[in-house]
Symmetry: C2
Subunit: 462 residues, 2 copies
C-alpha cells in the first residue's frame, strides 16, 4: 500500500466458509430425540392443533368471491387491491423443428415472499422451529410449515390481519445459514420466486402453541410420511448446506455448469403474458376455468373459514391440477457414488429458460391419450419399479395457498445401465447429491420439485 | 444396493474441482515471454493486420441503411430478416418513494451468442488464441478479441458470409475451462446474455494471420494499454478461475449471498418493451435518435467497408453514448486482504433485477446539470484521486459491434475509511477478489463493467 492510504483496518479476515456448520447439520440429522417433542408425539400435536382451530374450505362459484373479480376487458382474475396474485394468460413458444407453442392461465405474483426457518441450539443440537399451518388447498389442511411464510402483502399488512409471528428474525437476520431466491412451479406461476431463508439465533425465542422445535432427524422422519411437511418447508430445507459425503462425481463441477449453459443456450424460449380472456383452448364456466380436453388443471374458487389464520374468513381462487403427479429421481451408484438423473426442464414460467428438474415430473393422466412412444421419458421405469428398487416414496402437496389437492408421489428409484445409461439422452445428466447441494445455493438452478426430492435425499441418507 | 440392481458401473469418481488449473493459470500469468509473439511485437502485429485490411466506417442517415428500416407502426428499427438485433422501446419502473420511471430506446437481441477463447499449452505454459478483429464502433477499429465472437446469426450463416474460424472448438468443446452465460449492458440491451466460454485443446490448431497465441502475462500487459483488448475478450478473461490468494474476507460467502438476495428482494423493478415510436423524451431525426436534453446516447447509423469481416460491406445502426464514462472500483485492504466495493445496481435491461457493478459506473456528463448532492456516489472520490492512489487506469471500449465510441476510463482507486467506510451505504458491499471469481462462475451476479475490472484486477495483481 502507498504511504498515505489509510492504515489497514484491524479486522482479521474471516474464513469465507463455515467449517463447523456441515458437522452441526449432520449432528442434528442424526438426532431423533428432540429437546421438545418426541417424534411419535408430532402427529398427535398436529391433530391437537387441528382441533384447536376450526377450518372449513368450500368450493364456491366465481360469483361468490369477495373482492376478487374478472376484469371486464382482459378477463383477468384479480383482487380489488391489485395485491396477492392475479390469474392472467401466458403464451409460450419454444423454437424448434417443429416449434412448440401453447397458451394457458398462469398466476402472476411479482412480489418476493419470505419462507424462513429459525434455527437454535438446544443441548448442543440444532433445532428448527416448525409451524402447524393451515393452507386451504391441502387435503389435510394442517401441515408442518416454515417458521415464517409471508408474502409482502402479509408483512406490509394489506389484509389488515395480525402481524406475522417471528418475522423480525428474518427481516434483520442474526446469523444466516442459507439465503437464496428460488423459483416456484414454472408451469403454474409466471416468474415467481421466494426468498428461502434459514437463520440461526442464540437469543431467547418465545414459544407458541402452533410452533415446535424439531431436530433435522425428526423432520427427516416426518418427510417419510404423506402430506406432513409442506412444500414451503421442503424447499427451505433443501437449501441446508449439508456436507458432501462422496469423494467425487461422474462430471466435475465445471462440466456440469457447462452442460447447463449449453442447454440454456440451445433453447430459444419466448414467453409473454396475455389477456386471460383470449387464451385459446380454455373455457370459463360458473365454477371453474378448464382446459377444453379436461387436462392439466382447473382454476376454481373457495371460501375459507379459519381460526388461526391472520383473518378469520376469506375467499380466493386456487389452481386444481387434474390427477396425482409422479415426481421421481432415478438413482445409480457410479464409481461408488450415488448419482441422480436431472432433467434440464423448460417451463413457461421460469425467469431464465430452464432449470434442473427431477428425472420424471408429470401428471400421467395428461398423457393417457398418447401412444407409448409419446409418454414422458423414464415414466414407465418409475411406474414399473419393484418395491425393493424404491429407495424413497411419499405423497406430498404443493403450496396449499395457491393449489388445491395438488399432490404428487415423490420417488427415488434405483435404475441400471439399461434403464438409464451413464450417457443419458440429450437434456439429462447424472449429478451427485453434493453437486445438487452446491447448485441450490444459487437461484435459477434447481426447480421446486427437484428441491423437494433434494430435501428427501437428505432424509433418505440419514 | 439391492441384489438385482445393475452391478456398479466401474467409473472411478472424478474430483469435482480441477486442482491443477489455478496453478497453470498462475504460471501463464507469470509468463510474459510467449512462445509465438513478443509482447513488444503485438502492437506492430495489430498495426500490420490493420494495414492488411481496409476498413472504413462512415456515418449515414437512417434513410441510407440497407435492409434495416423503421417499422411503420411501432417505429422499431430492425433488419428485414428479423435477425441480428432490433432497436425497440423500454419502459422501466422502480417502485419506491418516490418511484423512478423512465423510457428509452433499447437493443433487443434475444439469441445467445458465443464468446470463446481457445487455450493450449506451448512449452508447458497455457497460451490463449486471440484475434485481431475489426469492429465498426471502436475508435481504433482493430482490437484483440476472443478466438470466436459469434452471434447465432453468424454461425447459422444468415448473412451468407464465410464460416466462423475455430467455431468447431466451441460447439463441441474438448476440455472446458469456464462456461457461463453472462449479461451485457443492462442500460442499453434488453436481457442480453452471451455464452462466455474458454476451452482447452491438446490437438493441432491451424494458425491464421489474424490470430496469435498469447500467455496471460502478455494479455495482462496489454490490458494496461488503452483500447487494445476488446470488451468481449475482457468479459471472457474475467471468467478464468484464478486461485484465491487471500486467506479470507470481511464477509463470509454466505453473508455475501444473503446480501445479494436481500437486495434483489427489496427492489421491485418492472420493465416492459414498448413501441420505439412512443418512447417519451426521445426525438427521431434524419441522422439520429437523441434524448431531448442531449444526454445518455444517440442511436445512429453507419456504413462499413471491410476486408477481413465476413462480408465486405454493410450498414447497421449503433448506439453512441454521450461522453466518456468513468468505471471504477474503490479498493481497501481489510484485515490485510484487498477488497473491492461493489454496488448492487438495478439496470432496466437485466433479467434478474440487479447485478453487482463497480463502485462507480457512469458518464459524468449526464449528471453535469445536477447539484453536488445528486452526483453519483463515490464519483468525486474517484475523480479526485491522486496518481499514487490509482492502482489501475486505462480507457477501454464497449462492444464495437453495437456501440460507437463507447469508451470509459476504467480505474481501481485506493480509498480510506473516511472516503469509503467498512460499513458502506445501503446497496454497497466490500468483497474480495476471490469472492468475485467465485461469483462470476454463475450467471446474473457480476455485470459487464465489473467483469472488465475483474479481468484488470488479475492483470494488476501479477
Amino acid at each position: 500500500m502507498t504511504s498515505h492510504a489509510a492504515s489497514p483496518v484491524l479486522v482479521p479476515p474471516r474464513p469465507r466458509g463455515n467449517a463447523e456448520l456441515p458437522g452441526r447439520l449432520a449432528l442434528s440429522a442424526a438426532t431423533t430425540a428432540g429437546a421438545h417433542l418426541r417424534i411419535e408425539d408430532v402427529h398427535g400435536w398436529l391433530a391437537d392443533r387441528d382441533r384447536a382451530h376450526r377450518f372449513e374450505v368450500e368450493r364456491i362459484p366465481f360469483a361468490g368471491l369477495d373482492a376478487w373479480s374478472f376484469h371486464p376487458e382482459t378477463g383477468e382474475l384479480g383482487h380489488r387491491t391489485g395485491r396477492f396474485f392475479t390469474v392472467r394468460g401466458l403464451r409460450a413458444r419454444i423454437e424448434g423443428d417443429p416449434a412448440t407453442e401453447w397458451e394457458q392461465p398462469v398466476i402472476e405474483q411479482p412480489e418476493v415472499g419470505i419462507l424462513g426457518i429459525l434455527a437454535k441450539e438446544f443441548g448442543g443440537v440444532l433445532h428448527f422451529l416448525m409451524q402447524a399451518k393451515m393452507e386451504p388447498g391441502n387435503r389435510n389442511l394442517l401441515q408442518l410449515s416454515p417458521t415464517v411464510q409471508a408474502t409482502r402483502s402479509n408483512y406490509t399488512r394489506v389484509h389488515q390481519g395480525a402481524p406475522v409471528r417471528y418475522l423480525e428474525h428474518f427481516v434483520r437476520p442474526e446469523r444466516v445459514v442459507a439465503d437464496t431466491l428460488q423459483s416456484e412451479h414454472g408451469s403454474w406461476f409466471y416468474r415467481k420466486a421466494n426468498r428461502n431463508l434459514i437463520v440461526e439465533t442464540d437469543g431467547e425465542v418465545e414459544t407458541h402453541d402452533d410452533f415446535c422445535w424439531l431436530t433435522l432427524g425428526q423432520i427427516h422422519a416426518l418427510l417419510r410420511w404423506d402430506n406432513v411437511v409442506n412444500m414451503d418447508a421442503r424447499t427451505v430445507l433443501s437449501c441446508l448446506p449439508f456436507p458432501d459425503a462422496a469423494p467425487g462425481a461422474l462430471h466435475p463441477d465445471t462440466e456440469v455448469l457447462s452442460w447447463i449453459t449449453g442447454e440454456r443456450s440451445r433453447h430459444d424460449v419466448r414467453t409473454e403474458l396475455m389477456p386471460l380472456a383470449q387464451v385459446r383452448g380454455w373455457i370459463r364456466e360458473e365454477h371453474r376455468i378448464r382446459h377444453e380436453h379436461d387436462r392439466y388443471f382447473d382454476v376454481i374458487a373457495v371460501r375459507v373459514r379459519a381460526g388461526s389464520r391472520e383473518v378469520t374468513s376469506w375467499t380466493q381462487p386456487l389452481f386444481e391440477p387434474r390427477g396425482l403427479g409422479v415426481t421421481a429421481f432415478l438413482t445409480r451408484r457410479i464409481g461408488g457414488v450415488p448419482h441422480y438423473l436431472v432433467h434440464a426442464r423448460v417451463e413457461g414460467g421460469f425467469l431464465d429458460t430452464l432449470e434442473l428438474g427431477p428425472t420424471v415430473q408429470c401428471v400421467p393422466g395428461n398423457f393417457a391419450h398418447l401412444p407409448p412412444d409419446r409418454q414422458p421419458r423414464f415414466l414407465s421405469t418409475v411406474l414399473a419399479a419393484k418395491p425393493d428398487r424404491i429407495r424413497y416414496e411419499a405423497v406430498h402437496s404443493e403450496e396449499g395457498g395457491r393449489f388445491l389437492n395438488a399432490e404428487s408421489r415423490y420417488l427415488v428409484v434405483e435404475a441400471d445401465e439399461e434403464e438409464a445409461p451413464t450417457t443419458p439422452p440429450e437434456g439429462y445428466r447424472w449429478v451427485s447429491a453434493g453437486q445438487l447441494t452446491w447448485l441450490v445455493r444459487h437461484a435459477h438452478y434447481i426447480n421446486v420439485q427437484a428441491r423437494t426430492l433434494l430435501a428427501c435425499l437428505y432424509a433418505m441418507e440419514t
